[in-house]
């Protein structure tokens, strides 16, 4: 054991003293985090104060007669330039599902009997006409949308009064709170954190690791090591722990920045979230080992590493959603382990972007890991040997 530790710490020291490693593994991710947050953070925030909210309309009966006034109001607020974009639903259930999953900000229900109540109110010159508003408490856009609707209804009541059509009529809103499935206020700094963290992990697993292995073989360091009693299992264990140590250090830096500069909340300290990062380390390191076992030359492994790194980073959805991409490349999105890993971390945080269940998010990376390790085990003599 002390032999392994001695070897690992030697490898680790020689690794992190390299400027390239220092920069790309430790410093660059922090810069990237800063850039992404500065550029896109405000973009996403202004979006919530938003030009338009999404309102789902459910008509339990169609408006007629005097009730048409409500239609006019709805048309008014959802016309071009108005605060709402409306979508009509045939059933309340469909509308509520969309509300829960974040595709609508509020749902406005015109209950059965509204026409009758309107007419009644007109005839009796007094009465309430209730409309139902469903919204999600705690979700900013939803709360704002519901108070806007409230406001609009007040305006309508005043208008009716002013037109003298009856100071008797009072359209009221009954609000119902709906709970969201994944809902929580969207925070870009938090959303991007798993992306940057996975990018860090990926750079160590796909670049440092295979390039290091091939470099040690090509330069002859390995050859000298083979003349010693060091076993190949120990060699790879040392290599593995060195990578984990490098990743942990870079993650600590990222955590410090997220906590003290961006005040990202507790979700990144959730043990389940941390476990998803450890899972990502193991999956990506296995993938990197497989890559190394395909390459005889340093240039091959560098090109392979750089390309896969970029593909996995961008098409894996680390920085932006990828599930709307055309099918021509969307299949790649589904093939990459990083898609599942970053989604898994975000799911634990309470976000959902991919139409995938937790089971898939764990199973696909596990399949990749098994496959990579088998390929590596079959080919590893190529990585280790030099003859």
């Amino acid at each position: 054991m002390s032999r392994l530790w001695n070897f690992t710490s030697g490898l680790f020291k020689s690794e992190i003293r390299e400027f390239q490693v220092m920069f790309w593994s430790f410093i660059f991710p922090l810069i990237l985090y800063f850039i992404l947050t500065s550029v896109f953070g405000s973009f996403y925030e202004s979006d919530t104060q938003g030009v338009s909210f999404r309102v789902g309309i459910v008509r339990e009966e169609n408006l007629a007669g005097f009730g048409k006034i409500i239609d006019e109001v709805i048309e008014g607020i959802s016309s071009e330039g108005g605060p709402f974009v409306k979508k009509e639903y045939g059933s309340i259930d469909d509308a509520l599902v969309d509300l829960r999953e974040g595709r609508q900000d509020i749902v406005l229900v015109i209950p059965a009997g509204t026409n009758a109540k309107m007419t009644n109110a007109l005839a009796l010159t007094v009465g309430e006409v209730p409309l139902r508003v469903h919204y999600i408490s705690g979700k900013e856009s939803s709360t704002i949308a519901s108070s806007i609707i409230e406001e609009v209804i007040n305006e309508v009541n005043l208008e009716i009064e002013r037109r003298g059509e009856g100071d008797f009529l009072d359209i009221v809103s009954e609000t119902r709170v709906v709970s969201a499935i994944e809902e929580k206020p969207f925070d870009y700094k938090e959303y991007i954190f798993p992306g940057v963290a996975l990018m860090m992990i990926l750079s160590v697993a796909l670049l440092n690791s295979p390039i290091g292995l091939i470099q040690y073989r090509v330069s002859g360091v390995n050859k000298k090591l083979y003349t010693t009693p060091l076993r190949s299992l120990e060699y790879f264990a040392g290599h593995f722990f060195k990578l984990i140590m490098t990743m942990l250090i870079s993650l600590v830096l990222l955590y410090l920045m997220a906590t003290f500069v961006y005040r990202v909340g507790g979700s990144i300290f959730d043990i389940r979230f941390i476990l998803t990062l450890l899972f990502s380390m193991i999956v990506t390191i296995s993938f990197g080992l497989m890559m190394a076992s395909f390459s005889k030359k340093l240039s091959t492994v560098a090109v392979l590493g750089q390309s896969l790194y970029a593909i996995m980073m961008f098409l894996g959805g680390l920085y932006f959603p990828v599930f709307d991409l055309p099918w021509g490349i969307r299949w790649l999105v589904y093939a990459l382990p990083t898609t599942y890993l970053v989604e898994l971390s975000r799911r634990v945080m309470g976000y959902q972007f991919a139409p995938l269940s937790i089971g898939w998010l764990i199973a696909v990376p596990l399949i990749w890991t098994t496959f990579s390790l088998v390929v590596f085990a079959v080919n590893f003599k190529k990585v280790m040997g030099y003859e």
Binding site: N6, F7, G10, L11, E18, G220, V221, T227, P229, E387
Partner: protein, 305 residues
């Protein structure tokens, strides 16, 4: 007679059409220094790397110690120390850290300080290996080969690239190891190195052993001739008639050598002719043949061109 440490039987390694090592046999006894001498591409490195367990022989056997262990066995790896022909280490570790890393891989080890002193690298102790010169790297490689206080030491051209002072120092190191009863295999193209250090010498060419034995054995094998060398001053060029002598070879410029069994007759002829042609002789020496002469006699080529 001392114990056999390594026994090599009918060892063979081909690379395509190249017969890098072509059926060689030898054994190595406890405490002896064996030098493998040969020109570039003779198969020296291939041979020692098979002994070190780095290359797999195509045929033949290598057995270590009384237990007849293969080179791949853990016991063997604990007991051998290897300096490779071209060494490279972790670039961002210092000399001391490198030694410590390798020491940690063995059960027993020598303190790094002692090793650094042995190869006179005290002033480079904290230098990263990537900043060492070629010769310094070579010395570090020798130090690393000794970290485990090995019973058998392999040195593949340990003094190539060293300046004369460093070379002499390394010879001292090797002689000190010899005093400690270490068994040493050394490859070299320097005859002087083999002559000074080796108890036994193997001369390889084209993957085969073409001669073996002690220095004396080898020299005796070429009929114990003497070599007379001399320089000529005066008329330029030296008249052909003056040089018309059996066994005469041009060394360089105006220096010549004659291989002979009858020194007196050659000397007599030289003085007689110098008087006749009015030329002056200088640096006339009579010497025993050396390994170079052995190699030339055996192959018709010089060891180093």
């Amino acid at each position: 007679m001392s114990k056999t440490v390594i026994e090599v039987m009918n060892l063979r390694k081909y690379y395509g059409d190249t017969k890098a090592v072509d059926g060689i046999e030898f054994d190595l006894r406890e405490g002896e220094v064996l030098a493998i001498l040969g020109p570039n591409g003779a198969g020296k490195t291939t041979t020692v790397e098979m002994l070190e367990g780095l290359r797999k022989p195509d045929a033949g056997k290598i057995e270590y110690f009384e237990e007849r262990l293969p080179p791949s066995s853990e016991r063997v790896k604990e007991e051998i120390g290897v300096q490779l022909q071209s060494s490279s280490f972790f670039e961002y570790l210092s000399v001391k850290e490198t030694l410590d890393l390798f020491r940690g891989l063995y059960r027993k080890s020598i303190p790094s300080k002692d090793l650094i002193k042995e190869v006179s690298m005290e002033d480079k102790e904290k230098t990263y290996t990537k900043n060492l010169s070629g010769g310094q790297l070579q010395r570090l490689a020798v130090a690393v080969a000794l970290v485990n206080d090995p019973r058998v030491v392999f040195l593949d051209e340990p003094t190539t690239g060293l300046d004369p002072q460093a070379r002499r120092m390394l010879w001292e190191t090797i002689l000190a190891l010899k005093k400690k009863e270490k068994t040493i295999i050394l490859t070299t193209h320097y005859m002087e190195e083999a002559e000074r250090l080796a108890d036994r010498i193997i001369i390889m060419d084209y993957g085969k052993i073409i001669a073996r034995g002690t220095l004396d054995d080898l020299i005796d094998s070429i009929d114990a001739e003497n070599i007379v060398t001399f320089g000529v001053q005066g008329e330029d060029p030296v008249p052909g008639e003056f040089l018309d002598m059996e066994g005469l070879q041009h060394v360089e410029n105006r220096e010549y050598s004659v291989t002979t069994r009858d020194v007196e007759r050659i000397l007599g002829r030289l003085f007689e002719r110098s008087k006749r042609f009015g030329l002056l002789l200088d640096d006339v020496t009579i010497r025993k043949p050396n390994l170079e002469d052995v190699f030339i006699t055996l192959t018709g080529r010089k060891l180093r061109d």
